[in-house]
């Protein structure tokens, strides 16, 4: 747990300092895992947010709609869910670092 928090913090610092540029991060998931995560976001997050991420019962997850939101808050939303809303926690299916990778990709334009 400690190590995953540390990795996450490191990831966050790197991403935050890099701004919108593609940060080079040691914890970036490998290619196979990236593909799985992209599929998970498009198909399963897509149940509520839309496969094209333009929104549904849940809000749109496009760079324009996310840019004002704090990065770490978005990561926590994915990982822990948002009580009082239909957003469930996804921690059974990914690490915090992977949630951070997803947020970073969502904010910069999500892969197909």
């Amino acid at each position: 747990m400690l190590s995953s928090r540390l990795v996450f913090a490191l990831f966050w610092v790197l991403t935050a300092t890099a701004g919108n540029a593609q940060p080079t991060i040691a914890v970036e998931p490998d290619a196979v895992r990236q593909k799985e995560l992209v599929r998970l976001v498009r198909q399963d997050c897509g149940s509520c947010h839309g496969m094209t991420l333009h929104g549904g019962l849940g809000p749109a997850l496009l760079p324009a709609t996310l840019q004002e939101k704090p990065f770490e808050g978005l990561v926590a939303t994915i990982y822990y869910g948002r009580p009082g809303t239909p957003m469930p926690p996804w921690k059974r299916f990914m690490s915090e670092a992977e949630a951070a990778w997803i947020v970073q990709k969502l904010m910069s334009g999500f892969p197909q």
Binding site: Q43, D44, S47, G50, H54, G55, G56, P86
Partner: protein
């Protein structure tokens, strides 16, 4: 000489061969969610017969049918409304009616098609013949605040019942004058996520996400207002996370009991429709999404939300329990019964197939290739209230 007559005969036959006559009662369509296409199918031969492209974003889509079963109206995620001729296998008319849509319904007399929208929140009525806009009813629940519309269902007298997700209301809009609709509003509860009308058209039910229970309006006596049923369901118990919202449309009553997906529990709720009291819970293998009765009501088939979306459970309504559990494929998103229920078609999104099963023996009869299939809609829906 014989050859000459043969040639003449074949020429004559070709000249006479107008369009081949056929009915439409055994046809249907499969939504291919990732490619903006529908595959048209024949449930008698269990084969596809045409593909129709250019329907836009079908990532969440549904269809209703004209009462003659000839035309399908497909509602796409991007607000596209497409009218398809099932016999000629072509698009007759297509309009973009909103920014983000969730589905639609057709009126009792078949003349009005109504779309339900998330953005801008509200409903819109169209002439079923021309797809011309007749009127619109914004889902404004407080000054300047618009809600997503869920659970739109047709009811008697060209009225439509639906619920407002953010607004927490059930509404009934009367399109008897389609240019000047009138709307009644009923407080319903927190975050209605979908709705349905009973097969007789009498009760509209809206599942609540924000609180325990289901809001119910008696459409025969709307002046009595919406009331909450199943309010005690699951009180004090920790809810399981819901990775996909259940769909209520397609639900039906079997043997005087209603079978409903629980939310946040791996159970199907059994409700007596005379008293609207819970009379049982049937454990299943995941968060139910569709809980659909075979047309005769003997079986109820259940599919599940991620991560259990490869499983199917079949409940025998006489035994009151799951009698068949299997894993037909990957990403089972939807199911549709043939009109009298001898077969069920299942869409396996991640296998790029639609699977056809015999509902008596549970044997697989065949499959159809389709690109990321989701909704399956047969023309028999044309004659059912709430479909």
């Amino acid at each position: 000489m014989r050859l000459f007559f043969g040639l003449l005969l074949s020429l004559l036959l070709t000249a006479c061969a107008g369009p081949q006559l056929r009915g439409s009662g055994d046809l249907g369509l499969i939504i291919e969610r990732a490619s903006g296409r529908v595959t048209l199918v024949d449930t008698t031969t269990r084969q596809p017969y045409a593909r129709v492209d250019g329907l836009g974003d079908l990532s969440h889509a549904s269809a209703v049918y004209s009462r003659d079963g000839r035309y399908a109206f497909v509602f796409g995620r991007d607000g596209g409304l497409t009218k398809i001729d099932m016999l000629e296998a072509k698009v007759v008319k297509r309009v973009i009616q909103s920014g983000n849509a969730i589905g639609g319904s057709i009126s009792q007399d078949g003349r009005i098609v109504v779309a339900q929208n998330y953005t801008p929140g509200g409903i819109k009525a169209f002439d079923a013949a021309t797809l011309e806009l007749l009127s619109e009813v914004p889902a404004e629940y407080a000054p300047g605040k618009f809600s997503k519309v869920v659970g739109l269902a047709d009811s008697a007298g060209n009225k439509f019942a639906y619920a407002l997700f953010e607004g927490g209301e059930i509404r009934v809009t009367d399109f008897s004058n389609p240019h000047q609709p009138t709307t009644q509003r009923f407080p319903a509860g927190s975050q209605p996520y979908d709705g349905l009308v009973t097969p007789d058209g009498r009760y509209f039910l809206a599942g609540l996400f924000g609180e325990d229970g289901v809001a119910m309006l008696d459409l025969w006596q709307p002046e009595k207002g919406a009331r909450k049923i199943l309010g005690k369901y699951g009180r004090g118990e920790e809810k399981l996370p819901v990775f996909k919202m259940p769909h209520l449309r397609g639900w039906s009553v079997a043997q005087g009991k209603a079978y409903l997906p629980a939310i946040g529990r791996h159970e199907v709720l059994v409700v007596d429709v005379a008293t609207w009291k819970e009379v049982g819970r049937i454990p299943v293998r995941g968060q139910p999404v569709f809980v659909m009765a075979r047309p005769d009501g003997r079986q109820v088939w259940v599919n599940f939300a991620f991560p259990d979306n490869g499983k199917m459970d079949v409940i025998d309504t006489l035994a009151g329990k799951v009698v068949h559990a299997f894993e037909p494929g990957k990403g089972i998103l939807h199911m549709e019964f043939t009109p009298r229920g001898e077969n069920v078609w299942l869409s396996a999104r991640d296998d790029n197939k639609v699977l056809i099963y015999d509902t008596a023996t549970f044997t697989r009869l065949g499959e159809i290739a389709a690109d990321s299939p989701s909704g399956i809609f047969f023309t028999a829906r044309a004659n059912r209230i709430g479909f």
